[in-house]
Symmetry: C2
Subunit: 325 residues, 2 copies
DNA sequence: AAATTTACTGCAATCGTTTGCGGAATGCTT
DNA sequence: AAGCATTCCGCAAACGATTGCAGTAAATTT
């Protein structure tokens, strides 16, 4: 079965295409009687306007792009969920693409999005030297770009991030408040900006008031191994800078049969899903992908509305008390 | 800055639009010299064809739709990730929409997808009486629909599912093999087809060879509560039909300080993420969203290719041994 | 030198929708 | 009865790309 178009309706009712178009948009020029005839036929024929034609005509796409290393990630899927929700609510569609941390795929994704004439882009750059130039080109085309989470290290772009310094600092304060003295602090890959920021803030807040052993783990398994290796009888607290690290550390702790918090305390930076799987629930500083998504969307809308103001926004993390500290 | 079009290039080079179009497509009618001039200018002007115009002209969209209750779910995000990956690889884009289990939103999502003239749809229907008619309408328009996971209870449609009966049966067999005698079996909402299927297969396989207490929980918290309430000194095994249920049960087990597997055994049906967070890792029957995604995509491609064969495919689950049974 | 082939390139219609402009019919005023 | 506003509607161009057909110039044949 073919799709019905304005033309279909117009020929059936012996009207011109323009009249049908206007009737459907409730244009004052059209009589009520005609409007009724048109809308009724449109209804029975299940008329749906062709988005491609409209976008071509108006050169407005009502389409956002989102590129991310992987949908299936501790953090991103809640971010994506949030952005999708807002987009839909505001009559935008969202084209989601994964780069798999491959700069080549990343590039062809951007190309695809340009071909689809997106109105804006949410981007999380891949860790392996992604090509920032391609993003800058979008800006030249007046397509606003909001970077999130993994953002480029340049000033002149819109970014939304969880409060990296703040979250690490809050965690450190919470530890000090409990008078802990011997901390095993697990961080991620030391080349990532996020790691650097969290590490610096953590150290600064601890400020020598407790002994801290810094460990860098590249993934969950690594974190498990390094936790097992570096935990000593004196260690009273484990800090994990991310969910991925936390899962590894928890594995090690359970393996050794350590009781939380009697034998050892745990605190993490997390969006909250993993911490709540355990009992006692792990105390964590919340960095919500959901909230970040809302923030990103707000930023996008103000860009769309014509703001040229370059934003560097940050969500305010909060401490969620479990029973692990 | 405006987007460059064929027209831009044609006026600069003093050629007709058609020549430019053909030159870019390496048409034999065009001389090498002209081709070179055109491609070079297109390159420096960063020409990208307007997908809307092409789709309007060809009435082929290269766009798939995917509707799902929520992206941010134990299972779906890996399914989505998988489908996105395959789509991209096959030069399709994917429009992902969440229904939030709201039939109204679900309907408007379908409408949106129709307006975008999608070439095919992956759909997971919402639990609250979703409107199947809207899906049937797509079929009338020759838009293939592949239902996944939560599929409608009718024969004449394409479905891909994890092997519900098989997975429950495998779990039951594994329990019997270990000579367990007193099982607390936790299932989800009893109105869901998936629950019914898993429950029936589980019971059938156990076949009276062990005592089974069936409990239905609607969510994770519910599962925790009901586990605590129904576990007895005699209970030697807990079966969880899903990740959501598993997280609740694990919470209860940890709370009571029960040792796995010394005090109690645990087995679940899961995609594997949650089971691997614990030590010992939970033994589970794998129902991979990733694999299901690949299966769904294969089905879609054969529909696109013109197959009218109605498929009802099922992934083959496998038992992954942790140390919990 | 005329006729025919070959190599390039342009015209114009098409996809479905929107919209400025102008036109016809009607009713109302003087 | 002539002039005017009002109401309703259609023409045609435009968005950007594709493609069948036709046209022109040069190269080749006769």
């Amino acid at each position: 079965m073919n799709n019905t178009t304005l033309k279909t309706i117009s020929t059936v009712l012996n009207l011109s295409i323009s009249t049908v178009s206007r009737a459907l948009k409730n244009h004052p020029d059209i009589s009520e009687k005609t409007k009724k005839r048109v809308t009724e036929l449109a209804d029975t024929l299940d008329y749906e306007p062709n988005a491609n034609a409209i976008q071509l005509r108006t050169s407005k796409s009502n389409l956002f792009g989102l590129v991310v290393p992987s949908i299936s990630n501790f953090f991103y899927h809640s971010f994506i969920s949030s952005v999708e929700e807002e987009s839909r609510r505001n009559n935008f569609s969202l084209l989601i693409l994964q780069s798999g941390d491959d700069p080549g795929i990343e590039l062809s994704n951007l190309k695809l999005l340009r071909q689809n004439r997106i109105s804006g882009l949410f981007a999380c750059i891949s860790t392996n030297n992604s090509n920032i130039d391609a993003y800058l080109k979008l800006k030249e085309l007046d397509i606003p770009v909001i970077f999130f989470d993994k953002v480029p290290d340049m000033v002149n772009c819109n970014k939304v991030c969880v409060g990296d310094e703040a979250s690490a600092s809050i965690a450190a304060s919470a530890i000090l408040k409990k008078n802990r003295k011997d901390i095993l602090a697990l961080f991620g890959n030391k080349n990532l900006l996020i790691t650097k920021k969290r590490l610096a803030a953590f150290i600064e807040t601890i400020n020598g008031k407790a002994s801290v052993k810094i460990i860098h783990a590249d993934n969950s398994d690594d974190a498990e191994l390094l936790t097992t290796k570096n935990i000593t009888g004196k260690t009273d607290t484990i800090f994990c800078m991310s969910d991925e690290i936390l899962t590894g550390a928890m594995k090690a702790i359970q393996k050794q049969g350590l009781k939380i918090p009697a034998d050892i305390s745990v605190i993490a930076i997390s969006n909250g899903f993993i911490p709540k799987l355990f009992y006692p629930e792990i105390t964590y500083v919340e960095t919500s992908g959901y909230k970040l998504g809302k923030l990103a969307f707000t930023g996008m809308m103000s860009c769309i509305a014509g703001s040229t103001f370059v934003q560097d926004l940050t969500t305010q993390p909060v401490l969620i008390e479990g029973g692990s500290l």
